[in-house]
């Protein structure tokens, strides 16, 4: 088990606080490059902005394992100026518009502060107050003569907070995966060659992962992501059978999602590893959604792929919640799995 404590949490905080909306991942890329350079054999930034790094092992018959975590997050993009410091914007990635009104944002490279205001409830009919606030009626307000550029990205200005067993932050999806992959590179086992892909544009169609897989052509791949935990009470008090994953139950191993049947050999291998090492884990409920694994599995001549996620609540909103222990156990499981990997795993049975 690699070290795990405040150093790791501080790295996660820096990663979560950075703003890297799809297509503009520079802030996270900078942190990743600085963190991994001392511990990899090769690193390059490709045509799309993916950070692709290799750390070679030392033994014979090394498997080449691609580990993937996406750097981008959902966010906003300024699309037009209205005057008086107000800008129209569009959403990038799957945001529910109902999370936007009344929120603080940071705009552009300088993190210029702005707010998404709402019409005062005093000035509207009760009819109007029952309708959701539409995207085209909202503006990012930078102050009376505040200036930004059309095309600037904006991210939520939420703070990273610790609470008991949990962390509360924006962009846990997928900075927690990025942080995991950085930690693995820093403590990589020597029996495998690690092909680390810190990808771009996951949130708008798994676009970075596709070219990353084509570049690496690995023997197998693991997408490290963060998956929704819908473990809240049902409105009518009935049993919640659509929880997807639950906080506090360990890393979530994907079986099937909207775009992928995850490689059954790898799913079984991860389960067996967790059980052998007594690491708590859960199986994500099969169903919609997806991770970079979808793009990787179908690349080239096909790549055996699985996906492991740290569960979090409140996906693609200003504040998500994850459990520190789930993250720690995810790191533990991945580390243990890499150490046990042999080519026999992929032989047909």
């Amino acid at each position: 088990m690699p070290p795990f404590g405040n150093t790791q949490l501080r790295l996660l905080e820096r990663l979560c606080t950075a703003i890297a909306v799809s297509g503009d991942e520079g802030e996270v890329r900078k942190i990743v490059l600085a963190e991994i350079k001392p511990c990899v054999d090769e690193v390059r930034v490709d045509a799309m902005g993916n950070v692709l790094a290799t750390r070679r092992g030392s033994g014979k018959n090394q498997m080449r394992v691609m580990l993937d975590a996406h750097m981008d997050e959902v966010g906003l993009m300024l699309v037009g100026e209205d005057g008086e410091g107000c800008y129209r914007f569009e959403m990038i990635g799957g945001i529910d518009v109902r999370h936007l009104v009344g929120k603080q944002v940071f705009v552009g490279k300088n993190h210029t502060p702005g707010v998404i205001g709402g019409k005062p409830v005093h000035l509207m009919s009760s009819e109007e107050s029952k309708r959701k606030v539409s995207l085209d009626s909202m503006r990012i307000d930078l102050g009376l003569n505040g200036k930004a550029n059309t095309g600037d990205r904006a991210g939520f200005a939420t703070k990273f907070r610790r609470a008991g067993p949990s962390i509360l932050s924006k962009a846990i999806d997928d900075r927690i995966g990025v942080a995991t992959l950085i930690e693995i590179l820093k403590n990589a086992p020597s029996n495998v060659e690690i092909c680390a892909a810190f990808t771009v544009q996951e949130e708008i169609g798994l676009r970075g992962a596709k070219v990353a897989a084509q570049y690496f052509n690995p023997d197998l791949a693991i997408a490290i992501d963060s998956t929704p935990a819908r473990d809240l009470p049902m409105h009518d008090g009935s049993e919640n059978m659509v929880y997807n994953t639950k906080l506090g139950c360990g890393p979530a191993i994907y079986v099937a999602d909207g775009s992928t049947l995850h490689d059954p050999r790898l799913v079984r291998f991860l389960r067996e590893t967790a059980e052998a090492k007594k690491i708590p884990y859960q199986l994500r409920q099969p169903g919609g959604g997806g991770t970079d694994s979808g793009a990787i599995q179908r690349s080239l001549a096909g790549i055996p792929t699985v996906s492991v996620s740290v569960p979090h609540r409140y996906t693609h909103t200003p504040v998500s919640i994850a459990r520190v222990d789930d993250w720690k156990n995810t790191l533990k499981l991945l580390q243990a799995a890499l150490e046990r990997l042999t080519p026999q795993l992929l032989v047909r049975n």
């Binding site: 009104v101 603080q104 709402g118 005062p120 000035l123 307000d141 929704p228 409105h235």
Partner: protein, 354 residues
């Protein structure tokens, strides 16, 4: 004028919801104490600060009231680790999903970070669909386990907005509780200005409680202190995205002087004259009915008190991102001080009805 930004930001960084104004009251008391002659706390919690005039006793007094309470939420039910909530004051529930909040846990006297969660569609009744999620379907999640929550949180505990104020361009500050902590700052500027001015009248600076729910502080303090005149200081609506019309006024263009049945016309005229004499820009605001401010209850307290309403515009009222121009706050503070010094000992006798 001293730099009032740190004081404003400190007031926008604390809770102090209606009925629980303690945190705000303590900050204000500390700031006002060196500026006044006497301080006390009224029976229901309003802060009373007396700056004595130099006129002959018995001196008439002017009460300037700004409410210090803020809107927020309260725990109504605890289900596992999740908190159900109800409103304190007039909140537009549409701003709630995804908000950072602080839960004031009375079980352990701790401030617990939390978030207002809009449960995923799969867990909600189909009728909620794509529309506004009803308050009874929103939950607060503190990230704690059910057993920790049981120990720390009780029904009735307060839930306040936790976003810190942001400094936007051109001296615009945005945060929660700008309504009406920014008026508290205007009143503070007035007291600072009065340090170097001479005034005949006594001035009661009052930070009132519970304006957002029942106006309890305004009429109770007015009753106790029986001022000859009163001014309520509060915020009005600024023009902004999707907001225009007669109820709205541009930011950074001056102080609002309100007319309408809640306000005494003679006082309004005096305020106007003072503003013009000292060249403070002002605009006319009208409140055809209930002004929705402390001026409403004060006017009918005891035998009736001639009352005025002085305002400045903010954007996004009753959201966590209310925005105000610092310049507007400063002008309001200065105008209040100029008004105080303009009051001659026999001013009351000059008030005549047409």
């Amino acid at each position: 004028m001293t730099d009032i930004l740190p004081f404003l930001k400190s007031l926008l960084n604390i809770s102090g919801l209606s009925g629980f104004e303690g945190p705000a009251s303590r900050l204000i008391e500390e700031k006002w104490r060196p500026l006044v002659d006497e301080m006390s706390v009224g029976r229901v919690g309003s802060l009373h600060a007396l700056k004595k005039g130099n006129g002959k006793e018995p001196r008439p007094s002017l009460m300037i009231a700004a409410h210090m309470d803020a809107i927020g939420l309260q725990v109504s039910h605890i289900q596992d680790e999740f908190l159900h909530i109800t409103k304190v004051g007039g909140i537009d529930i549409r701003v709630l999903p995804g908000l950072e909040v602080t839960v004031h846990g009375s079980g352990s006297e701790e401030e617990l970070p939390g978030v207002i969660a809009m449960p995923p569609a799969q867990l909600l009744p189909e009728s909620e669909g794509e529309g506004v999620i009803a308050l009874n379907n929103l939950l607060v999640d503190t990230g704690l386990t059910a057993s920790e929550v049981r120990k720390k949180v009780r029904v009735g505990d307060l839930v306040s907005f936790a976003n810190e104020p942001l400094e936007l361009a051109d001296d615009v500050i945005s945060g929660h509780s700008v309504d009406n902590r920014s008026s508290i700052v205007a009143l503070t500027i007035c007291l600072e200005e009065l340090q170097k001015k001479s005034h005949a009248w006594d001035v009661w600076a009052i930070a009132t409680v519970q304006e957002e729910v029942t106006y309890l502080g305004a009429y109770s303090s007015a009753y106790q202190l029986r001022p000859q005149l009163a001014i309520a200081v509060d915020v009005t609506h600024a023009t902004g995205p999707g907001v225009s019309g007669w109820q709205t006024h541009p930011m950074d263009k001056g102080v609002g002087l309100c007319i309408g049945p809640n306000m005494h016309p003679f006082l309004h005229t005096r305020l106007k004259e003072v503003a013009e004499r000292v060249e403070i820009p002002w605009f006319l605001d009208v409140a055809p009915g209930h002004s929705g401010t402390d001026a409403y209850p004060i006017q009918v307290t005891a035998e009736g008190i001639p009352t005025a309403l002085v305002e400045f515009p903010i954007r996004y009222m009753h959201t966590p991102v209310e925005s105000v121009s610092i310049t507007d706050i400063q002008r309001t503070g200065r105008l209040l001080a100029e008004f105080v010094t303009s009051l001659e000992p026999a001013f009351m006798e000059t008030i005549v009805w047409e």
